[in-house]
Symmetry: C2
Subunit: 319 residues, 2 copies
Amino acid sequence: MQEFEIIKDYFSKLSNQNQASLKLNDDVFFEKNKKMAISTDTYVEGIHFLNFNRPELVIKKIIRSSISDLICKGVKPKYYFISVAGHKFVFSKANLKKISRSLSQEQKKYKILLCGGDTVFSKKLTLTITSIGFSKKIVLRNQAKLFDDIYTTGNLGDSYMGLQILKKKIRLNKNLEKYFIKKYYLPEIQLNLSQKLLNFANTAMDISDGLVTDLEKLINNQKFSYKLYLDDIPISSNLNKVLVSRNFLKKDFISNGDDYQILFTSNSNKNKMILRIAKSLGIKITKIGKICSAKEKSLIIDKNQNKVEIKNKGFIHHF
Amino acid sequence: MQEFEIIKDYFSKLSNQNQASLKLNDDVFFEKNKKMAISTDTYVEGIHFLNFNRPELVIKKIIRSSISDLICKGVKPKYYFISVAGHKFVFSKANLKKISRSLSQEQKKYKILLCGGDTVFSKKLTLTITSIGFSKKIVLRNQAKLFDDIYTTGNLGDSYMGLQILKKKIRLNKNLEKYFIKKYYLPEIQLNLSQKLLNFANTAMDISDGLVTDLEKLINNQKFSYKLYLDDIPISSNLNKVLVSRNFLKKDFISNGDDYQILFTSNSNKNKMILRIAKSLGIKITKIGKICSAKEKSLIIDKNQNKVEIKNKGFIHHF
């Protein structure tokens, strides 16, 4: 079973009376009265991060992953809670010092504040971050309109390349390895763009599991299809360099998770506004596709209009 | 290291700028502007609950444990989030059905609503519950006054006896076993008393780790000592029966965790009010000790004024 099936079949009815929770159909909860959004995510060693050898980086990665869930919806994060279930070596003084320093740096960078949490013993390292933010409005899932353009911020695939290097499946020169590993651990979250989204995005989420998987989640309750233009999907010049020199295929690197860029759709009459805002903020925003009628099939196409098959669309939680 | 040392040494500075978070010195976070309290707790199989053989009971136990953190402070819980990191057998249809039904029953009983969560794969079952409630005021830790009386609601020790039975360390007749096991899995949370606490309690918390451990946490930042009257500590007639028939000592059963009763202190001039409220709600509330000057030593004494040594004061998180 996939996570969304579990939610639909067993849990959505538990929030039925509650308009605010959107029947668990979004990954954040928005409380209209308090104008408050909450997101909670659990990270398991070996699944959501490789290992805890570099706690100072893992902590930053998961904090960013958590606040990204709010930021991609136009909500400014303010508070966070961190619960750690781990072996006692996780709570060594050296590790605690690193964790504390990393949290402090993230707090300054993103203007967030630790408000609580829990530390418990477990043989398997599991961290849960709950982030809370405030906003009058929020950009939700499943609010795309027919013929909306599909956009992504930043570049995709760098983080996945970083993971391949960490797993020693791909080896590159030292500088390139450093570049990609940094992208894996320290995704740049688009905090400055966040509240602007409310001006033009009909629907939005962050790309955490992989572009195609996440796009399908973004519109999973809507009777639409999508078209994605493979050649327009933005990648870094470093990633492009590696793809060319190793004969790797772009399609194998742009939908594999951990990007933490914002995926959104918008009416095409907002295109100029989007480009202007992107320029003024110094952020890359790229049009990569279109929302289409359900009569058509969802497709990924290249510049010659040929259909591209992507085997692995992203990380899907199966049980 | 103990959890409170970890917090003091490494994390309290991260919430320094933030008055509302009480420097992480409480187990709930209170946001004054929104009049909102949040508590987050992580539960690991084999540590916080024995196993997941009866998911329908474990789920109720941890939901009650989580909302108890708010209720014991005068805050009415309204929303909860549940994150489950578990093996795929945890997410079997039979288990999901049981979990969903239990949550639904708890929602009705305590008027709470599921708002989100996360399901991820892990070899070690770990659940995190975040509860959110609203209240104009909150009863905090470390607000005891000198010479306050110390009270507890309900009876202590039943749940610990239930755990000993589940662990097969103690065997009793079927009916008694059933009674104590029920107390272990389904603690009665004092929802009706909750908001009344604001009228008389100077400081309060729930007894989750054990009476003495938790009392020491309740006043850990205050320059006070305490006196506890062993013979006044309330136990059920069933527990008393077992203690007598097996020659068990009361002191070995009243400070071992999982009670989820409310421990609070109050000025002695509130005693009549407390008894009146207890009577009108049909709740047992018992005076069990006194807050004393730091010049005296913290003591547990019996009715002959003899000092009682308790070896195991409760469950302490060590790393």
